[in-house]
Each structure stands twice: as structure tokens, then as C-alpha cells.
């Protein structure tokens, strides 16, 4: 059985289909009894408005698209989840596109596909610098908001303040008497990695401490482990801030294998506060990012743009979660 349409409802209620359209869209001038008759017909027929037709006629779909690389990491997927909820609350649907590669062409294709499908706006989750670059020179007529660290002129962006977060972590170590603090960086091609590195360097410089070269990993626990093995050989430091919690986990693993105690011999601060961090051995002191808030703010900016407001950027402050992996320096 075909779904009922406006005409069917109109016939059933003994009015024209335009009148039905009016009651659906809450038009004011309608006699109450006609309204009720129409409503009754709608209920009896189980009529549901066809969003596609409406989109075609109004040129707006109440849908926003989001494109991301689709890695199931804690940060991106939490952001997605928060954003999707915010969309629902705002009465918008969301269409997602994952992109198979990081090159510009793939990203532009992903965005184009979304636009062709009629989304009212698009949000780009750009973790890598190449992705951010691709997003920056996007030219579309729809509102665009970027979720990323690193900024872009004339574009709405939302980000967690990574620089402040890394500085917070570093300062925490400094406050505990540490003076030689190493940094485990994420890969160069990630925006967050660069920003966090900057934060560490800035905090070190502010305290007049020597900035030694960062150790670079790929975010994985395995990388943290390997870096930790190397670090265990040359124990010329008492603190390390890790670019994320996973690398901190691997690092602690390696240190432990080498008979080095955390936080007895070295203190460690992570970044992200993944749910597991609380139960690492020892429970990890780390920097928490409020991804749900990121999602909400993203939709907020989108709604702004949709209402023809100017682009603006919001930065969300991270928070230090103090647990057991940091102790006062003994040297």
C-alpha cells in the first residue's frame, strides 16, 4: 500500500491539499474545526510528510553533513556522538561521509557529495594538517564549520585549546618540582600534535627550563612503548608529558619493564582522559577534553551560520585531572 500524500488527506478531510499543508506548517489563519478535521484525516491515514519533496520545494533539508576520516579513536568518535545528539535536539538530521584518504581531492569529493545531496551545511572534522588544508580552500555556498585545532580565517571553527592543555600538563609537573621534562609528541601531520608541542615548549620556556627535542610517536601504545624503551636507557629526566593517553600507557609499560617506577622515579601526564586512564597502573594524571561540549558548540556555530550570522570561533578549555602518575620530584 502506497503511503498517503497531501491529496489523499485533503480528499478525506474534504478540503484542498493546500489547507492540509497549512495545518502541517502551523499556519495561523485556520478555522479550528477545519484544522481538527484535517488532523483527524492525517491520523486516520497515517500520513507522514515527505521530507524529500519538502526539501525540493523549499530548498532546505534540515540536514547537515559531516565529513571525517572515520578513525574510531576516542576523540573523534566522541565528538561525532556529541554532535549527532546536538543535531537531533535542533531538529536536524545528519549525513556522514567518511573519506578514504587524506588527500585534498578525496576531501573535496566527500564535501561535494554531501552538498549535492542537499545538506544545508557541512562540518569538517579535520584531525590531520592535510585535512585542515583541504578544508581551508573549500569553496561552497553552504555554511561550513571546522572541528580542529589550528585556525582558519573567516571560517567558523571549534576546538579544544590544545596549547593550554599541554601547558597545563607541563606546569603541573613543574609545580611538582620537575625540571627535566621530556615530551612524547604525536605525528607531525596531526594538528593536535603540533599545538600540544607548542604548549609544552611555551610552559618550559616560561619556567626557564631547557627544551629538549620531543620524542615522536604515532599515538599508539606501541609507539609509547618503543619510545619508553629508548628513554629508559638514558634516565636524564624525571617527568614526561605524553601527547595522548595511549602513548602514556605504552611508556609506562616500557618503564615498568625496565624497573623504573611511575611515579616513584618518573612522573607522567597524559592527554585526553580516555575512560581507561583512570585504571592504568598507576591511574593516569591527564588532560580531559569535553567532547560532548565540542559537539554542542559545533552545532551552535552551524545554527548561527544558518541564521546568516558571521563566522566565529570557539575554543574550549581543557581540564587537568589529577591522579596517581605524578609525584613530587626527588632530585
Amino acid at each position: 500500500m502506497k503511503p498517503a500524500n497531501l491529496h489523499d488527506v485533503a480528499r478525506r478531510a474534504g478540503v484542498s491539499h493546500q489547507t492540509v499543508s497549512r495545518v502541517i506548517n502551523g499556519h495561523p489563519s485556520l478555522r479550528p474545526d477545519t484544522r481538527d478535521r484535517v488532523l483527524a484525516a492525517i491520523a486516520e491515514l497515517g500520513y507522514r510528510p515527505n521530507a524529500t519533496a519538502r526539501a525540493l520545494a523549499t530548498r532546505t533539508s534540515r540536514t547537515v553533513g559531516v565529513v571525517s576520516s572515520g578513525d574510531p579513536n576516542y576523540g573523534p568518535s566522541s565528538t561525532m556522538s556529541g554532535f549527532t545528539s546536538a543535531c537531533r535536539d535542533a531538529g536536524y538530521a545528519v549525513q556522514v561521509a567518511t573519506v578514504p584518504a587524506v588527500d585534498r581531492a578525496s576531501w573535496h569529493a566527500g564535501v561535494s557529495d554531501l552538498v549535492d545531496r542537499g545538506v544545508d551545511g557541512v562540518v569538517v572534522v579535520a584531525a590531520r594538517v592535510a585535512e585542515l588544508a583541504a578544508a581551508r580552500d573549500l569553496t561552497i555556498n553552504q555554511p561550513l564549520v571546522l572541528v580542529t585545532s589550528g585556525s582558519a580565517p573567516k571560517i567558523s571553527t571549534v576546538s579544544v585549546d590544545q596549547v593550554a592543555g599541554a601547558a597545563l600538563a607541563t606546569q603541573h609537573l613543574i609545580d611538582h618540582g620537575h625540571r627535566s621534562i621530556r615530551y612524547l609528541a604525536g605525528p607531525d601531520d596531526f594538528n593536535d600534535a603540533g599545538a600540544r608541542l607548542d604548549g609544552w615548549q611555551a610552559a618550559m620556556a616560561r619556567a626557564g627550563l631547557a627544551v629538549r627535542p620531543p620524542l615522536v610517536g604515532d599515538w599508539s601504545a606501541r609507539a609509547g612503548y618503543e619510545l619508553g624503551v629508548a628513554l629508559a636507557d638514558d634516565l636524564s629526566f624525571t617527568g614526561v608529558v605524553s601527547g595522548n593517553d595511549q602513548m602514556a600507557l605504552g611508556l609506562i609499560h616500557a618503564l615498568s619493564d625496565a624497573g623504573i617506577s611511575v611515579p616513584g622515579d618518573v612522573s607522567v601526564v597524559g592527554f585526553d582522559d580516555i575512560p581507561e586512564a583512570e585504571h592504568f597502573l598507576p591511574p593516569l594524571t591527564t588532560i580531559r577534553q569535553d567532547f560532548a561540549e565540542v559537539g554542542r558548540q559545533t552545532m551552535g556555530l552551524m545554527l548561527d551560520l544558518l541564521a546568516e550570522h558571521q563566522p566565529r570561533s570557539v575554543s574550549i578549555p581543557p581540564q587537568l585531572i589529577s591522579r596517581r602518575s605524578v609525584a613530587r620530584s626527588r632530585v
Copy 2:
């Protein structure tokens, strides 16, 4: 400037708009030079077909909807990611809806919204039993595929074989000489929790071992920790299989706090193989689920249904990943 439409292209190429429609849809009977002229006009105008209009006319959108509760856990978000990629490869777009609560009404509303927006099919990711129940009595005209453990008659479902996975974990412990093996279960209201519990019980029974009551947690590392504290008091077992890796992490934490060595005193097997599991202390022996494959299979079943085939179910075998948290029993 308004985007170009079929008419504009037709005028520019000096043909009618149907002819343009034909070249776009790859219709065979077209003189090569008209084709080229049209293609040129398309390129010059930067014409892009309007998917909304096409959807209205053809009644198919090449879009599938997926509804889930949106928790950013490793399993669900990996599944999402795998599925989204599979959709892209098949030329389908995906619209996601997260549901704010687990009750039936919310789920039906989520599905209805997707259907109203014109998706060609919907996939439901049902982690909780209430969600599965809600999905089971869904009545829609579109193809439906369920991603869940637990089955549903006459509906296409894809799942990882949780029973086999838990049996695998348990048997691994048995093979290492363990005879008293406890089980850390996930909450009752999760489908996976029940299935894994069944697998453990079956394996224990098969080996003629006593089945003691499971300890029930909520999947979190914290719960694993608390259960571990209780367990440490009464060390009447040598092995434990945990319903997921996070609880295993918390458990190991608690055991370690109590001076109990893993795997020296007790052996532990997890479930999921989250990326961090490899670097727990000790590296965790666990059951890996191939979520990317789940995503691919899900789209495969959807495509089947879209091609008017009968519903069918696929079960994906999990795999034991042997690491360091299991040792031969000393008792």
C-alpha cells in the same frame, strides 16, 4: 549565482533536457557527438545533478539510515566506521540517527524519522536487549538489517559470534590447566553480555568444571576494579575471563593493588581487543572482533535486501589473541 540545472545545460548544448538526463544516466542510444556536446556544457556550467530531485522522481535516494544509541565505545564506533566506508564504496550515503533513550518509543521515532527522510533502508545497531526488542517489532516497508548478538526471525542480522568467543577464551584457560575460572559479566541489559556468559558456561560445563555465579559489572574499568577488590579477598580461583577489555584492566589493577600477580597468580582473558590491550601490564590475552568486517557484511546484507533477496543472517567468528596475561595454572 544559482547552480545550473538540466535546462541550463540543455540550452547551452542545444538539446532538450531529457537528452541531458540520458547522458547523465548513461543511456546507450546517444550519438557520440551529442554526448560530447552535452558533456562539454556540463563541464562549462559546473553542473551537478540535484540528488533531492532525483530522489523525489525515482523514489530511491541511494541513502541508508543507521540508528544507534551513540555511545562512543570501541565496538559500536568501529562498526559505524566500517559500515560507513562500505556504504561509500557501494555509492550510498548514510544518514545517522542517535537515540536519546533506550525505550521503544524513542527507537521507533528514530527509525520513522529516517524513513520519512527517504532512506532506502535502515540498519539498527542494537547493543541492549531493549533496543533489540524495539527493533524486532518494527514494521517498515524498507529493508532492515540488525547489527546485534541475539537473533530475530525473518530479519537480516549480522553479529560476531559472542558465544564462540567466550568459549574460546574459557577453553584457552582450561587448556592452560585452570579449573576454577570466574567470569566478569557485563550488565544484563546488553545482548553481548548474555551471549558471552552463555559461552563461558557452556565451555565450563563441557569440561565438567563447576560454574560459579558470574560477577556483574557495567563494562567500565572502574567496575572491573571494584569486582577485583572483592575477588582479591577470596582467592579461590586461578583464572578469570572478563566480558570486555576495560573490566579486565580494572580487575588487573585491583589484583595488583592486592599484591596478586597476573599472570603469576591468576590468569586473565579479555574481550574485544581494544588497541590499548596490547600494552596493558601485562599485555592482555583477549578475543578480537573484526568490526570492519561487521560493517562490510552489514552493507552486504543491505544490498541483498535492496535487490529483493530474502533476509539472511551472518555470524562472524572471533579470534583469540594470545599475549601475556595467561600462564599455566600452578595448582
